[in-house]
Structure formats: structure tokens, C-alpha cells
């Protein structure tokens, strides 16, 4: 019985010490620091941005821990979270952003569940026998006992080309006394006309997601693969930033800020969103 207890204790001890000892024992390759420095998951981007993990990434800090949200640690981390090789974000803009998120009186953090961030996924589908690029915008949503990613919007050039609505005196129209003829002119409008969207209201916006789902259900669009992912954040007051993955030699790799913009009001935010979603 004593031997059994000893064995159990031994196992427990080895399990609890496992995280700090690396995975594979003798013969493993020693990282020269590049993989440790890399922001390996978006989860690590969140943790580093907020200072919620130790510098070796092995210890998660929780509310109440001394180092949790530590300003000095955050200052170090946030500087490392920018793509410093290709993105050309002006230094003064970065500094202004850092000053705001690291403010002593009103520091700002990222939150996985708070919304105001989403994923842009570049995919390839087969459509009418051709490989076509389709962009899916995904957002995180509460559902059942937890959360799930859902497809929020779709951008697909072939769909966009379908809807080319003219306006003003050049557009086809149903004349204002059509009702007196029981709208008999609908035949000409919808049977002979290549642009039925001409007969929609000013505020009409095609819903590409519905068309996309309809085409998938009809077997006209077939998923092939994912080509890339990036993320768009609007969680920091009046700031937009994009996070992309950088797979290259060196220490400035992994998930990093690749784009940074300041906006002054909701209207400007809308302009950025419209640019990202690219629906028109």
C-alpha cells in the first residue's frame, strides 16, 4: 500500500512540474529565443497586450496576481506586438496609441468576449467550375453554454458584379403611373432586363451572405481551402488596428499589429469598416 501511495505521489509531482520542464526531455532542440519571442497564438497577443502572462509565456497571470496588468510589463510587451519590419506604421502614431492604452488613469485592455473585433478569412471556393477567392468576415457570438465563431459577412467579386445599379436619368425604371396599368410593365422590367436591381429602392443593399448560403445549399459553391486570416480590432477607444501573422526569420514574428489608424468619430469608424467589408 505504501508503494502504491508513493507511486501516486510521484505521478502527481511529475504532472504538476511538467509545464516548467519543457516537453520532450533529452534530445530536444533548444530554442534560441525566436519561438519564445514569437506571438504564437492570437491568445498570446491578448495576454501580452494586457500583461497577463510571464515573459517566458509559461505562467498565466490572473486578477489578483502581483504582475497581472502590470504597466511596466505591458509597456515592454506592447512595443513587441507591432510588425516592425514591413508595416511602416509611423513611430509617433504608435507612441500615441501606446500612451493611450498604457495611461495610468485609464488604461485600456483587450477582451476576448467584449465584441468590437472580428476575423477576416481569405478562402478559396469552386464556383461554376473555377477557383474563386471569397472573403468571410467572422465574429464571435455567445451561444448555448459558451461561444462560437459565426460568418457575419461575405465578400465575393462575382456576387458584387451581379449588382451594378445605375442611378439618375440613365437608369431603367417603372414609370410613376405603372399602377394604373396593373404593373403590366413588370414583364419588360424583369424578363428582358439584365439589371433587375434597377427596380430596387435607393437604400437597397444586396445581402451577399444569403446568396452565398443559397449557392452552397444548391451545390454551386464548394469549399476548397483557407489561404489566410487576419483580425480587426475596434476595442480601444478611437483606434482601429489590424493583426496579421508574420511567418519569417527573426524575433519579430507571429501575430503582430500590421495596421494602425486613429479615428475621431463614429462616421470615420464607419468609413474604415466599409473599407474592410468591401461590400459596394
Amino acid at each position: 500500500m505504501k508503494r502504491l501511495s508513493l507511486l501516486v505521489i510521484l505521478i502527481i509531482t511529475s504532472i504538476q512540474f511538467a509545464p516548467g520542464q519543457g516537453l520532450y526531455g533529452p534530445g530536444q532542440i533548444k530554442d534560441d529565443g525566436r519561438f519564445a519571442a514569437s506571438t504564437k497564438q492570437l491568445n498570446q497577443f491578448f495576454r501580452r497586450f494586457n500583461a497577463e502572462e510571464s515573459q517566458d509565456g509559461l505562467t498565466r497571470y490572473y486578477a489578483g496576481d502581483e504582475e497581472y496588468h502590470n504597466r511596466e510589463l505591458r509597456t515592454k510587451y506592447i512595443s513587441l506586438l507591432f510588425d516592425n519590419q514591413t508595416s511602416n506604421i509611423p513611430e509617433n502614431l504608435k507612441q500615441e496609441f501606446k500612451d493611450q492604452v498604457l495611461s495610468e488613469s485609464y488604461p485600456q485592455y483587450l477582451n476576448f468576449h467584449r465584441g468590437n473585433w472580428f476575423a477576416e478569412v481569405s478562402t478559396v471556393f469552386q464556383y461554376k467550375g473555377k477557383r474563386e477567392d471569397i472573403t468571410l468576415f467572422m465574429k464571435l457570438e455567445e451561444e448555448g453554454l459558451g461561444y462560437e465563431w459565426v460568418i457575419d459577412k461575405v465578400t465575393f467579386d462575382s456576387f458584387k458584379r451581379f449588382f451594378d445599379k445605375a442611378d439618375g436619368n440613365k437608369k431603367p425604371f417603372l414609370h410613376p403611373l405603372s399602377h394604373e396599368l396593373g404593373f403590366m410593365n413588370l414583364r419588360k422590367a424583369l424578363q428582358d432586363n439584365k439589371k433587375p436591381e434597377s427596380y430596387t429602392p435607393d437604400e437597397f443593399e444586396p445581402d451577399y451572405l444569403t446568396i452565398f448560403l443559397y449557392e452552397i445549399k444548391n451545390g454551386n459553391i464548394k469549399f476548397e481551402t483557407v489561404k489566410g486570416v487576419k483580425f480587426h480590432f475596434f476595442q480601444i477607444d478611437n483606434w482601429y488596428f489590424e493583426v496579421a501573422q508574420f511567418n519569417r526569420p527573426g524575433f519579430n514574428t507571429g501575430w503582430l499589429v500590421s495596421n494602425l489608424s486613429k479615428y475621431s468619430d463614429e462616421k470615420e469608424k464607419e468609413v474604415i469598416l466599409n473599407y474592410i467589408y468591401d461590400q459596394e
Binding site: I15, P19, L23, Y24, F35, N43, F112, G146, Y147, N247
Partner: protein
């Protein structure tokens, strides 16, 4: 012996986690214990991959190890592989991936692992199970005596883990414990 050890590990988790298993929330202490269990599974997988990839492994033995490796995974798990040259993901069922690894045409294959890993937070899914991702790095070296071909790569493996509360009967008592299964794996070739 391995089965005995697993039984003890199960027992350990069942007994030490029992009180807090009443709630569905995962405390930092439990998260640490789950991380350790997840790392054990990843370690097993790494060991199996090395055996399957080794040219010294007999065909029958490799098949047996593939069976064991498959048992680590939730049903339907896939490997999604991309390279430096093409970021497009190629999808393989786990078994198919192992078979491709076994069939690689090198006289000597060496698979080793970097001393670094990263474990994400656990997030709850709509069905109540928790999901996390463990990241590890693998070095592959293959040499062919005949052609003199020498191929090396380093891949990042992002491994899905599913964490689920289960129940078992021990001496007539129902004990709840947390179990870990592996899921889809994203394999990315790195520039290292």
C-alpha cells in the same frame, strides 16, 4: 504499466478535482492541472509521430502505433498543412497524415521537438465542452542515401484540445473528472 499509470492519473484527477467539479467553471488551479494533462497527450502524440516517421520502425509496429495515436483524437480530427511557398491549407484525416509520414521516401528520418510550447486559455463552446490550443514546434530531417537528398523543415503545430467533464464509477461512487482529447491540428512550415 502504462495502463496502470493512466488509471492512477485518472484517479488523481478524479479525487483532487472532485470538489470543484461540482461547478462548471475552471479555476486557475484546475486549468494548470488540465494543461499538464493536455501536455501529456501532446507528448504521447509527439512520441508516436517520431516512431511512425522512423525508418527503423517495422510496418506492423507502425500500424499499431498509428492505432494508439488515433485514440488520442476526437472523431473526425484533421490535419491542416501549409508551407512557406503556399499558405493554402491541405487537409488530411489524422490517419492519412500518419500514413503519409510513414511512407516518406527517406532512408533516414529524424524528428525532434523544440523545448518550447504554448498553451492557450480554455474557452467554452456552445455544447459546454471547453476548447484550447497547444502550440509546439517540430524539426524534421530526412536523408536519402541513393539520391543524396537532404530535406529539413521546422513546423509549428497548433493542436486543438477538447476538455470535457466526464463521470466514472469507482467502488460504487460516481466520480467526475476532466478528460482531454486532441482535435484538429494546424501544421505551418516556419522559416526557422
Amino acid at each position: 504499466m502504462k495502463k496502470h499509470i493512466q488509471a492512477f492519473v485518472l484517479l488523481f484527477f478524479a479525487t483532487t478535482l472532485f470538489a470543484a467539479a461540482q461547478s462548471d467553471n475552471i479555476s486557475p488551479q484546475r486549468k494548470q492541472a488540465i494543461d499538464s494533462l493536455a501536455l501529456e497527450k501532446v507528448k504521447d502524440l509527439s512520441k508516436y509521430i517520431s516512431i511512425i516517421g522512423s525508418k527503423e520502425t517495422q510496418f506492423s509496429e507502425a500500424n499499431r502505433v498509428m492505432d494508439r495515436a488515433e485514440e488520442l483524437f476526437a472523431p473526425g480530427a484533421e490535419m491542416g498543412v501549409s508551407s512557406i511557398n503556399s499558405q493554402e491549407v491541405a487537409y488530411y484525416p489524422v490517419r492519412r497524415y500518419f500514413e503519409r509520414l510513414m511512407a516518406l521516401n527517406y532512408d533516414n528520418v529524424k524528428i525532434s521537438w523544440y523545448d518550447i510550447h504554448y498553451i492557450s486559455d480554455l474557452e467554452r463552446q456552445p455544447d459546454g465542452r471547453y476548447v484550447g490550443v497547444v502550440t509546439i514546434y517540430q524539426r524534421f530531417e530526412g536523408t536519402s542515401a541513393e539520391t543524396g537528398l537532404n530535406y529539413k523543415d521546422t513546423t509549428k503545430k497548433d493542436i486543438t484540445i477538447y476538455v470535457e467533464k466526464k463521470q466514472t464509477q469507482v467502488a460504487g461512487r460516481t466520480i467526475e473528472f476532466w478528460d482531454v482529447m486532441l482535435g484538429d491540428i494546424r501544421v505551418t512550415e516556419t522559416s526557422a
